[in-house]
């Protein structure tokens, strides 16, 4: 059933839109203050290098992340979004990341249903001690988004064409 519906959907992803030369994706990284943001700081302090495509936004907790932020990012500036929080069980706010996890699962399904490739939105758990892991996550996300190419269906210039 699900597969049938998928086939009928017109995907927002348009593989025929070839990325311009030297195209670099923009990735919006929304990180929780206590684990992932601190982890990304540690990546910096440890001088671990990663691709420069990510733009980081600090929020207190992954549960603060409204699905709206993800949609707005994809709609306006970003080719992909990474949301990262504390490991399950380690939330600074006791249970916030569990809310986030459930919310993202639904958001991902919704965006997938609308036609976004599932790799456009990614989630990870990075603790304050996991500097190398943060670099690894960013590497992976950047690679994934590069493979998918630019996302500009909803962008203004695309409508004008």
């Amino acid at each position: 059933m699900e597969a049938e519906v998928k086939d009928q959907l017109v995907s927002i992803e348009k593989p025929e839109l070839i990325a311009p030369p030297n195209w670099e994706p923009v990735i919006m990284g929304i990180l929780c203050n206590w684990c992932s943001y601190a982890g990304s700081d540690l990546t910096g302090t440890s001088r671990i290098q990663y691709p420069p495509n990510i733009r980081i936004i600090r929020v207190p907790c992954s549960s603060r992340v409204d699905p709206w932020f993800l949609i707005k990012s994809l709609q306006t500036t970003a080719d992909g979004v990474l949301v990262s929080g504390c490991h399950p069980g380690d939330c600074h706010y006791i249970s916030g990341n569990y809310f986030a996890r459930r919310r993202f699962l639904v958001t991902k399904k919704l965006l997938n249903f609308v036609g976004f490739h599932e790799n456009r939105i990614q989630f990870s758990w990075v603790s304050a001690a996991e500097g190398p892991k943060f670099a690894k996550v960013v590497n992976k996300v950047t690679e994934d988004i590069k493979k998918l190419g630019p996302l500009h269906l909803y962008k203004k210039e695309n409508f004008e064409k």
């Binding site: 943001y37 700081d41 290098q49 420069p52 980081i56 929020v59 603060r64 500036t77």
Partner: protein, 657 residues
Amino acid sequence: MARVGVFVCFCGANIADYVDVPQVVEEVKRIKEVKFATEYKYMCSDPGQGMIRDAIIQYKLTSIVVAACSPRMHEKTFRKALSDAGMNPYLLEVANIREHSSWVHQKDKKAATNKAMDLCRMAVAKSIANEQLHEISVPVTKRALVIGGGIAGIQAALDIADARIPVVLVERSPSIGGKMAQLDETFPTLDCAQCILTPKMVDVASHPYIELIPYSEVIELQGFVGNYKVKIKKKASYVNFKTCTGCGACWQKCPVKVANEYNMGIDKRKAIYTPFPQAVPNKPVIDAEHCTMLLKGKCGICAKVCDKGSIDYTMQDEIIEREIGAVVVATGYDMWDPTPYEEYGVGRFKDIITSLEFERMVSANGPTNGVPVRPSDGKVPKNVVFIKCVGSRDEAKGIEYCSKICCMYTTKHTILLHHKVHDSHAYVFYMDIRAAGKGYEEFVKKAQVDTGTTYLRGRVSKIYKKGDKLMVRGEDAQIGQVVEVEADLVVLATAVSAPKDNPNLARLLGISYDKYGYLSEAHPKLRPVETAKAGIFLAGCTQAPKDIPETVSQASACAAKVCGLFAGDTMKKDPMVSSINNEYCSGCQNCLNACPYGAIVTEDVAIGHGSKDLRTVAKINEGVCQGCGSCVAICRSTAITLAGFTDSQIINEIVSI
């Protein structure tokens, strides 16, 4: 219209080497809200902060962006600079161009510069939506909770109480004292543990500022720093402590015998018991798992012999609630169970015992009156083999760390053995001797000379039985040969492990723990007694293995932290908390479930101005709110805002690049 000032920092060479700072400044100047932008070598330095102060006044700026290191580093510094210039400190935004750009894109200056520009644009866009915020002042409950009544908990409780701050001391077992009460003598001074500990235990019981709640456990903690509410389950003792005089008639007559935990099961105690003669409080409790009266309704002897009528078989568990402001966790450690060492024959050979069992045997108040004996036949051993690092420093068996105290207590054991059995000989198999501590190395050296102990550097590979002796086969790495020692008794220096209940306790308190189960400190070097949750502190082995002097130091450090926290009548709290717009609230109450702190309640308000009809809306207690924003994202009518992280601020960031 917003007037933003942007200050880009070189951070010496840290930023300037990898990001073209002047170009970033030129770029941000093109943003129409930016009225002033400049660069400086060290923005955090006094002249750097002075530039911010001067520019605020000169250019009438309405918000400030500092592009420098992580806000986790210097946000406070720059906020203070804003306050000094008479500006609301929360109108500051920090663009993290060091940790998030210059340090992580060192090979591509152009990309790093572009990214730094974007980060500045985002910060400028966010700062435009910043609002003036004011610190919240919340009252503090000046009472501390100490969990665990070992030496750590005792020391912390006494130090806090001596500062005339009330303390609630919760201990799980019937008596305080902990592991230290089980020790005979302590290294490196060979002080009798009982002699230095029991006076402190009595002090705790008699201190006017300490409320001792033994035989109980913490089951719930709510609230936040300065304003916690704790629920304590007081287990039914079946003895009325108010009338009991501790005469001991009950446990002398009790017919039920149970393995004695205090003596590591070497002898028996009764079903109604005090853990040890010097127990505080010195009142017996009934062990409900073994008492035949409680299990089958038959017996009742203790009630018959009690003159005071203190025995009450109908007693129920009781829940006690206390309001407290800070928590000291001092739950100690467990001795690691050496069963995985099958090659040693643990469990098969009776004459292999653990160090704590040996400690009880050589203890003057122990089950064998201070003389070590072989559990198999009761004979006094002559040749005793001590094996160190049983469990510790052994990845295969699950504990990679050094337990820190075993080298020293094994040295002590060789001395105690020598004292109690003069013609004995001790052999010690060791990996390294780690005697770092005041007087420790001297103690080890002296013990080696005085006792004539044979130290063999190497691991034991096998223990097998030969007649009534144990043959210990191991390697002496210094001569490169396999050696065998004939032993009457083998003592395993088992590792220190985290209390099994620590993960549960950590979840209950909302703090974190490491892979071994030790509770995590906020910073391993600079904040070793605090946890990541404000107002919760760690003392003793619950954080990591440590000896008594270190435990006592950490406990006193906790006390200092608690006293510092309680120094004022109110506490300043971050204003980044949620608030609800009643007009928009539909009263769905989804936020009530999302809030992990119970900070949201409902209230009834008039439907319209002057109307008598009421409707239910949500209301946030800003003193309780910790500012996670979980309610904001769950609110379907966008009635809730989180100060400092409003929807407009974050959306501004998203659309700005």
